[in-house]
């Protein structure tokens, strides 16, 4: 098929009739400025060939010329297999289509639409957009030239058909592809691309239905189980109610209760009678016992009175001899006391004598001490005098170490002054030769002498010659002044310390050092004296102590008194006193022992008298009391009356005891009343509980009946059975669909694997057609083709290929156009001649590469029609081919 002419009217900027002139075989180029309407013409050709004339889609609407009410009229002429065809369509208004062949109309309107498609080898479709098949990949609109061609299903079919013609039917690529598409389409109803169940697809719907039925079934079965449980519970309650409300049972219970109540009343009455009789018996017994005790007490009291009277007699006999014994003891005590008093007086006399002796002895000791005190007093007084003398001498001798240092300093200063004078003074050498009479400052010299002139020096040679040599006056004055100052300082120092010369000052210093030595000795002596206080205090203390001893002596030994005893005498008298005292003490102890013995005798007698008196008084008191209760004259009468009363009471007790025993023999067994009482309570409670239970059961039955009626009446069981069946069916359906999906997946994967294995074989024809085009632009390069003719990469003699997406935009566009050219060539070679249209392509190519691309385009133009639309007239000038014009 080759386009031969194109005309448009009312189409885009072409409001009036416009034609493309010059279309022919090989390369055609329509070069025009921007907005000249090239792309409009491209779209118009497509619309005329591929759109139904009745279509009003947006692409068609977009073609209409603004502001005009004309229809969009497009006419396309083409040549195919030696015939000239023309299709003319009017869109939007006055819609019409007409197809003619060699000038003869062969179809109109819809038929014309479809006849064109048949001629072009395009499958007609009514509902979906038309698949342009080979035209889709070979007609490249503006801006799409750099995209890798992605063949539509129709295009794939065309390409595969071509490939199949070349490689033979054994590869079966196109059938496999169509088959795979069918399987995938079928599978896509069930699953998404990621393999998950498609939402609302059959598999998903089945799973949801299963889940829904599972939930509903569980719910209904739970409700049914509840209903069944209630029915069972109802049956149980009814059985219980029947048992609880059985009239025979109730009657039996009531009869038993009545009988028990009657027997209980009787038992209680018997118990009360017994209690009363037992009380009477106990009371009678107590009264008899009380009377017995009263009689016994009377008898005991009479016996006690008699016994007390005997006791009083006995005690009176024991009290009588006690007075005599007491008088004898008192007299002996008085004698012993007088003896003791005499002994005490003798002892006092001895004590006075001994005290006197003690005073004399003490005085003797003190007088001995007085001598020692006097010696120490003299020693201290002597030390005191010497210490005072040393202190006075030290105070007078004021030349201390500082004064001596000051003296040394003055003398040093003077020496330095003089040394200075000497150093600065002229030196005079004098040689007194033998026999010469030479004197210096009046002192004769002999031999060699050397003098410094620090003061006027007079050298006399003989008498005739006297030579005076003086230092310079200024130097001399200065030195003299300094010396005078030193002398003043010396004089002041000497004066301060009472010396007249330096030597004396130094002598005074030596004397002071001697005094200081003495002072140190005195301090050592003082230490040896062991003074506890100051020397003066110590002396005063000694003087006071001596004074006190003297005073004591005067007091003890007044002038004319007893002289001091000799020690032997003192000792003898003292021993004599001691012996006398010891003898007195022994005598006195004996007297005291006698006194104590007599006093003990008296005390014992008094105690015995008291004890006996007390006993007698107590017996009298008791006796008086007993006699008051039981006087001697009424004793017999009272005892007889009491015995009679006792006899009466014992008789009464015997009667009541007999009555009690008789009643006890007739009474029911012990505890019978309690047992009957418990039975009555039990039966009453049982009847009551039975009635309550029946009431409760009635209530429960009514409630359950209501509930069962409500929940059972809606066909729950029937619903559950249906749901069970539905659920099983849903599970089976889900499993069936799951299995169907697995089968489809297996089929898809198997065919996919086989298809992939054959891919290289399927790509070989395209690769062969691509090679010359590729050599025009990329010599030695190879293009890697993937599935469905996809371009994976470009291999340009390197070890690896470059991914298509990483190539420059220019290279991408060139490769994409070359692939399209190869596809066109391949299709063309197999008899399907489809023109190639490139609208504004190669926009990213440089000057060198565009020339190479022109070569490739011209190569394509050798076998098929190529139409190039461009706005770059200069760049495309070297493309060659036929220049088209818009007229």
């Amino acid at each position: 098929m080759k386009l031969t002419h194109v005309s448009v009217e009312g189409c885009g900027k072409f409001g009036t009739l416009t034609r493309i002139e010059g279309l022919g075989p090989g390369v055609n180029i329509l070069s025009a400025r921007n907005e000249a309407g090239k792309s409009t013409l491209f779209r118009a050709i497509r619309a005329c060939l591929f759109e139904r004339h009745s279509s009003t889609n947006k692409d068609i609407s977009a073609l209409a010329t603004d502001g005009l009410s004309l229809p969009v009229t497009i006419t396309v002429g083409f040549e195919k297999e030696g015939h000239h065809y023309q299709i003319r369509k009017s869109f939007l208004k006055s819609k019409a289509a007409s197809l003619s062949c060699d000038g003869v109309e062969m179809a109109r309107n819809a038929e014309a639409d479809e006849e064109v498609w048949k001629l072009l080898g395009i499958e007609a479709r009514s509902s979906r957009a038309l698949d342009g098949a080979a035209y889709g990949i070979l007609w490249v609109e503006q801006g799409r030239s750099f995209e890798v061609p992605e063949p539509s299903e129709g295009a794939k079919s065309v390409l595969n058909a071509v490939i199949q013609q070349e490689v033979g039917v054994l590869v079966g690529g196109e059938r496999a592809r169509l088959f795979l598409n069918g399987v995938k389409e079928d599978l896509a109803r069930y699953l998404t691309d990621s393999g998950r169940p498609r939402v609302n697809g059959p598999l998903d719907a089945a799973a949801k239905e299963t889940a829904r039925l599972t939930g509903e079934r569980l719910d209904v079965e739970a409700r049914l189980a509840t209903l069944n449980g209630k029915i069972d519970e109802l049956a149980r309650l009814r059985a219980d109610y029947k048992a609880a409300s059985d009239p025979e049972t109730m009657r039996t219970l009531r009869d038993e209760l009545k009988d028990a109540q009657r027997r209980l009343t009787e038992a209680e009455k018997s118990d009360a009678e017994l209690t009363r009789l037992a009380g009477d018996e106990r009371q009678a017994h107590e009264r008899a016992e009380a009377q017995r005790e009263r009689l016994d007490a009377l008898k005991a009291r009479a016996a006690a009175i008699d016994e007390q009277r005997l006791r009083l007699k006995e005690l009176g006999a024991r009290l009588a001899p006690l007075n005599e014994q007491e008088q004898a003891a008192t007299k002996a005590l008085q004698v012993a006391a007088a003896q003791k008093a005499g002994l005490d007086r003798e002892a006092e006399t001895l004590d006075s004598r001994e005290s006197e002796l003690q005073r004399l002895a003490a005085l003797g000791v003190k007088l001995e001490q007085r001598g020692k005190l006097s010696q120490r007093l003299m020693l201290l007084e002597d030390f005191g005098r010497r210490a005072a003398g040393n202190d006075a001498a030290l105070k007078a001798a004021s030349v201390d170490e500082a004064a001596l240092k000051a003296l040394d300093a003055i003398e040093n200063e003077e020496r330095q002054i003089r040394a200075g004078m000497e150093a600065g003074a002229a030196r005079v050498a004098i040689e007194a030769r033998h026999g010469a009479d030479v004197a210096v400052n009046g002192t004769a010299i002999s031999g060699n002498a050397m003098r410094s002139v620090t003061e006027p020096l007079t050298i006399a040679v003989g008498t005739e010659v006297a030579i005076t040599i003086s230092p310079p006056p200024a130097t001399l004055d200065t030195a003299m002044k300094q010396l005078a100052q030193q002398r003043e300082k010396l004089q002041a120092l000497l004066s301060r310390h009472g010396a007249t010369s330096a030597a004396e000052l130094r002598q005074l210093r030596t004397e002071r050092l001697h005094l200081e030595e003495q002072a140190r000795d005195l301090r050592a002596e003082r230490t040896a004296l062991l003074l506890k206080e100051s020397l003066a205090t110590e002396i005063a203390g000694l003087q006071a102590a001596i004074g006190e001893i003297d005073a004591e002596q005067r007091r003890v030994l007044p002038e004319g008194g007893v002289p001091l005893l000799a020690p032997e005498e003192f000792e003898r008298q003292r021993e004599e006193i001691t012996e006398s005292r010891n003898a007195l003490r022994a005598t006195r102890a004996a007297a005291e022992a006698q006194i104590t013995a007599h006093q003990a005798t008296l005390t014992s007698l008094a105690t015995t008298r008291g004890t006996l008196g007390g006993q007698i008084a107590a017996i009298h008191a008791q006796l008086d009391g007993d006699l008051a209760v039981l006087p001697d004259d009424g004793r017999e009468a009272m005892t007889a009356e009491c015995a009679n009363e006792l006899s009466t009471r014992q008789t009464a007790h015997r009667i009541t005891a007999a009555a009690l025993a008789e009643k006890q023999a007739q009474a029911p067994a012990e505890g019978e009343a309690d047992r009957l009482k418990a039975r009555v309570e039990r039966l009453s409670s049982a009847i009551d509980e039975q009635q309550k239970k029946a009431a409760r059961l009635r209530e429960g039955i009514a409630r359950l009946e209501g509930e069962v009626q409500i929940s059972g009446g809606d066909g729950l069981g029937e619903h559950a059975a249906t749901l069970k069946l539905q659920h099983e069916m849903a599970l089976a359906e889900e499993e069936r669909l799951g299995e169907r999906v697995e089968v489809l997946k297996l089929l898809r994967d198997t065919v996919d694997r086989c298809y992939a294995r054959r891919q290289e074989e399927l790509n070989a024809p395209l690769r062969r057609h691509l090679k010359p085009f590729l050599n025009d632009v990329f010599p030695q390069a190879e293009i890697e083709l993937g599935e469905s003719f996809a371009v994976a990469g470009l291999n340009r003699s390197g070890p690896g290929s470059e991914l298509f997406g990483r190539l420059s935009l220019g290279t991408q566009e060139q490769v994409a156009v070359l692939v399209r050219l190869a596809m066109g060539a391949m299709i063309c070679e197999r008899g399907t001649d489809v023109p190639i249209i490139l609208d504004d392509a190669l926009v990213f190519s440089d000057d060198e590469r565009i020339e190479q691309m022109f070569d490739a385009i011209n190569r394509a133009g050798r076998n098929q029609q190529v139409i190039v639309l461009t706005c770059r007239s200069r760049s495309f000038a070297s493309l060659g081919g036929k220049q088209l014009q818009i007229i």
């Binding site: 069962v708 489809l744 089929l747 086989c754 298809y755």
Partner: protein, 375 residues
């Protein structure tokens, strides 16, 4: 005297797995009651004994509850005697209380207690109603001691399984096999088994009046029982009452040539439109025949009331011609070869082999269809 013995009506049983035909099958069960009523009238059988499981479950909807009662009411000359079975056992406030509250037709007698009931002057009925789904004791035992006037025919009515007999019942409600003899029964009418069965000359299971499952009674029927008098052996005969026939059969095929015979046998079955069939096909077929079989079965299914084909044991063994039918070479042929190898791979699991077979069938059918379209 003549009586009709029936059981296991199971009114309200769902047939949801039969899709839109469910209502037809449910209606058929009700129609069977009318058939029984008409039969009773025709055969001059005054009493119809329903030996349990009148209803399919204990809690049906009100409509389901009333429908069989109304059908029975429609035959006033017939006395219907009903006992509860394991599907509709009698419990307080249960289904039978609902029935009573709903208004029991005068000619319908519920026997909810084991109490003798006179069937006119000739016979006495000894019912053994179930009060639980599953009884562990023999509820017919009381019949041994049940007193009845001399000269009366003694008829027992029970629902359960004869102990030691074939286990065809649904629940464990034991009935002594010699109950009729022990209790002096002239006839013991039993329910529970959906297939008619004679236990001994005096003891029968009637089966269901309208078949409801495969592998059981094919066509619903009842028993017409004639008892000449006390001690006489009953004469029992079957009477069809069902509309739909349920059959199950297995066909073994190994060759495409077998398909004609199979189709012929299926088409020759009587009354296809009233037939429910479960067909299991075993053996092996090539792909062409397998596809052919599917097509034939689809046609036969349309002719029948219901056809359930189970081809899970029918294995596919593609021939060279089958594979060439897919393609002589190329991608699809390779795929077919791979699937064939997998289907025959002994190391693969049965599921995997089965899947490969199905995929192969799918490949075959799809390629054949596409070729047909292309042609």
């Amino acid at each position: 005297m003549r009586i009709i013995h029936t059981a296991d009506w199971q009114i309200g049983k769902p047939f949801r797995n039969f899709g839109e035909k469910e209502s037809v099958l449910r209606q058929a069960r009700l129609r069977a009651i009318e058939n029984i009523g008409r039969l009773a009238a025709t055969e001059a059988a005054r009493h119809v004994l329903v030996a349990g499981d009148l209803y399919d479950n204990e809690a049906p909807s009100n409509k389901t509850l009333l429908e069989p009662l109304e059908r029975m009411r429609g035959f006033p000359g017939v006395d219907w005697h009903v006992i509860p079975g394991n599907h509709d056992c009698h419990r307080g406030q249960g289904i039978w209380d609902r029935v009573r509250k709903a208004g029991l037709p005068a000619n319908v007698h519920l026997h909810l207690d084991p109490t003798p009931f006179e069937l006119g002057p000739e016979a006495i009925l000894l019912p053994a109603p179930l009060r639980r789904k599953s009884e562990v004791t023999d509820l017919t035992e009381w019949m041994d001691q049940a007193a009845a006037a001399p000269g009366l025919i003694r008829i027992g009515l029970a629902h359960g399984s004869i102990t030691g007999f074939e286990s065809g019942g649904e629940a464990n409600n034991p009935i002594a096999p010699d109950r009729a003899k022990r209790a002096g029964l002239d006839y013991l009418a039993l329910g529970d088994w959906h297939r008619t069965m004679q236990v001994n000359p005096s003891t029968w299971y009637s089966g269901t009046p309208e078949a409801d499952r495969f592998n059981s009674q094919e066509l619903g029927q009842v028993l017409l029982v004639e008892i000449a008098g006390p001690g006489a052996t009953p004469i029992v005969s079957t009477r069809p009452t069902g509309t739909y026939r349920w059959i199950t059969f297995t066909e073994e095929i190994t060759d495409a040539a077998d398909l004609d015979g199979l189709e012929q046998r299926l088409r020759n079955l009587p009354n296809l439109s009233g037939l429910l069939a479960r067909l299991q096909v075993k053996g092996t077929l090539d792909l062409t025949a397998r596809a052919d079989l599917s097509q034939r079965l689809a046609q036969i299914e349309a002719a029948m009331f219901w056809l359930d084909s189970d081809l899970s044991d029918l294995h596919v063994r593609p021939t060279l011609a089958d594979l060439e039918q897919i393609d002589f070479g190329g991608v699809l042929r390779e795929a077919a070869d791979m699937l064939k190898a997998e289907a025959e791979n002994p190391a693969a699991s049965p599921v995997e082999r089965r899947r490969a077979e199905e995929a192969l069938v799918q490949l075959f059918v799809m390629t054949r269809d596409s070729k047909a379209q292309a042609a």
